[in-house]
């Protein structure tokens, strides 16, 4: 009997570290779906992958950097953005993408999110919002909607949730968008658009966590989440970001909310420094030591 090669090459595979598959993500988790959109966006643009770095913090979404076949940096909890800031400033040629979760980017790393947006550092930030601390076992996050149940809010949460688009818009981000794991094509297009833009770009993606968020709140499986996202989503491009809060059971406002031009940090710095900035070509190679005049 002869065996037949049944493997059909998926172009996305080239962007993944094949030797790290399977991922740690649960069946039905939405993180991988967002990565698929991201990979297609990267491939579609034909950007120089050699010059593209991906930086994550800690958490389920923090594992994205390690599965991408790019320069991958899996940093500390909450600090992906400042690491990425250093990376970008010290080598402006790099495309630097921060890919991490809601707890990582908005809670423990919230201060860095605000200031990177304010500085308009040339970074694209993808925030996968599963509305819970998933890696540590389902604790409440700053993004857990309203009265949701979690392992640390056994009687329901008592805190309102953070509206990320409003926060980064107010801080000065030049591109702000939100989609859900249901909107794979829209997400890919928005990611491609953001990848082509300069400055601080922020994309929030709602993503189901069947293992914790869905289960704790009797929201069914991943498929139920997709049905829910489809039902509740309202596309409102250009929507004022103060109208995009995610309320339990309420509309999920999705789309591209902010797309403005603003000089990024390095461009502004160079312009303001003027003649105080000196280009610094590499030092000429030192001549090798010679043992005699013939050498």
């Amino acid at each position: 009997m002869s065996s037949v090669e049944l493997h059909v090459h998926n172009p996305v595979e080239d962007l993944l570290r094949q030797d790290r598959i399977p991922t740690i993500w649960c069946p039905g988790c939405g993180i991988g779906t967002t990565v698929n959109s991201f990979a297609h966006a990267l491939l579609g643009l034909g950007i120089d992958l050699k010059k593209t770095s991906i930086v994550s913090g800690i958490g389920c979404s923090g594992r994205v950097s390690g599965y991408m076949n790019l320069d991958s940096f899996h940093t500390t909890h909450g600090r992906a953005i400042p690491f990425a800031t250093g990376l970008k400033l010290a080598n402006p040629e790099l495309n630097v993408i921060v890919y991490s979760g809601d707890g990582d980017l908005t809670s423990i790393g919230g201060n860095h999110l605000i200031h990177a947006a304010r500085r308009n550092i040339d970074l694209m930030v993808v925030c996968v919002n599963n509305m819970i601390y998933a890696m540590t076992g389902g604790q409440a996050a700053a993004t857990t909607p309203g009265t949701s149940m979690s392992t640390t809010t056994p009687y329901g949460a008592f805190e309102p949730e953070l509206n990320m688009p409003q926060l980064v818009d107010a801080a000065g981000a030049c591109f702000v968008a939100r989609w859900t794991a249901f909107h794979v094509k829209q997400l890919e297009r928005t990611m491609a658009k953001a990848l082509n833009k300069k400055g601080f770009r922020f994309i929030e993606v709602l993503s189901p966590c069947p293992t914790y968020y869905q289960r704790k709140n009797n929201l069914g499986d991943a498929l139920a989440a997709m049905v829910d996202y489809k039902k509740r989503s309202k596309i409102k491009n250009g929507c004022n970001t103060w109208e995009t809060a995610l309320l339990p059971g309420g509309d999920i406002i999705v789309g591209e909310f902010v797309d403005r031009e603003r000089e990024d940090y390095l461009t502004l710095m160079r312009r303001q420094l003027g003649s105080n900035y000196t280009e610094f070509p590499p030092q000429a190679e030192e001549e090798a030591e010679r043992c005699c005049s013939e050498c």
Binding site: N69, D71, G86, L87, A90, N111
Partner: protein, 385 residues
Amino acid sequence: MHADPRCVLTGTHFINGDAACCEGALAAGARFAAGYPITPSTEIVERFAARAPKVGGLFIQMEDELASSIALQGMVWAGQKSFTVTSGPGYSLMMEHIGFAAITETPCVFVDVQRGGPSTGLPTLPAQGDMMQARFGSHGDYLTIALCPNSPQECFDLTIKAFNLAEKFRVPVMFMMDECVGHMTEKVVIPAADQIEVQPRRHASKPPSEFKLFEPGPDLVPEMAHAGEGYKVYVTGLTHDKRGYPLMNPQSQRELVTRLFDKIRRAADELTIIEAEGLDDADVVVVSYGITSRVAQRAIQMARDKGLKVGKLRLICVWPFPEKVIRDLAPKVKALVVPELNMGQVVLEVERCASGQCRVISVPHPGGTVHKPAEILAAIERGAR
């Protein structure tokens, strides 16, 4: 390799330790830095912010010390040399990223201009209370290198050394200044660039297809590749294998942590950096470091004037601790006197290595000012009895 003349301010200067540290960093090849203002360290980056753009670099003032201590590591993985400066409260916030630099073997320098603590403590007054924090501050097991300058000249010379050691061993190096040394103004001679040895990055010598990011070399130190060079580096704070991929089990933990220790331990001789004087016939040896060594110098002179046989041992590199030096010395002397601007930190190491073979007399001081020479003299006299 020699320093780049474009970054070296060759000449004789009258500057303080903070300024000298900045010039040392530039001479060592650092053109990038991240920091957050905190007294008494800020003058270093104030000067750097003015100097760096002239040599194609930059200083970024981050939103806090958590950010600056990781932004500098982004700069290093982008291919640059980088550092941050801080003092007690900021140093405490940086601890997590000292651990990150240790496990990812990111060569960089953390400058701590020590002030009185705990907490906000004494913002503008000296102490040496962060010495154990420099060794053990981040969680988990790792080794670092810590240098202690005692003059503005050494702030220049040893900052270069700190960068060189960071590159050679691929560790975060702790540059442990104190308020007095930082704010003291003295003559600093900056030599010509071709007189300054600079350790370049130990860059990958193999092409990407054959290269493993954490494959140890003969001295247990791996070579480094940067973002944007086609190596597709994978850098994680998780316990990892030679490729850098997370591998979390007892064997991989043992392999990695043991290597992080051994790469420093094997270099114990090279990292024994001390200044010794009159040890051969000494009854008492004063062991000190940083600003305290200059007060000790006076006390030693006073004791010698009284006819006592006193030696001086100044620890320039405090971590790794020069164990062998103390082990060899202890059986030959009556006492080791250890003055420091803390309630007794490095003295614990001296006691450990002396192992009961001689008296070890701690001369603690909570900081805020330096010792009086008479306090150290009294301890010397006690030791000589």
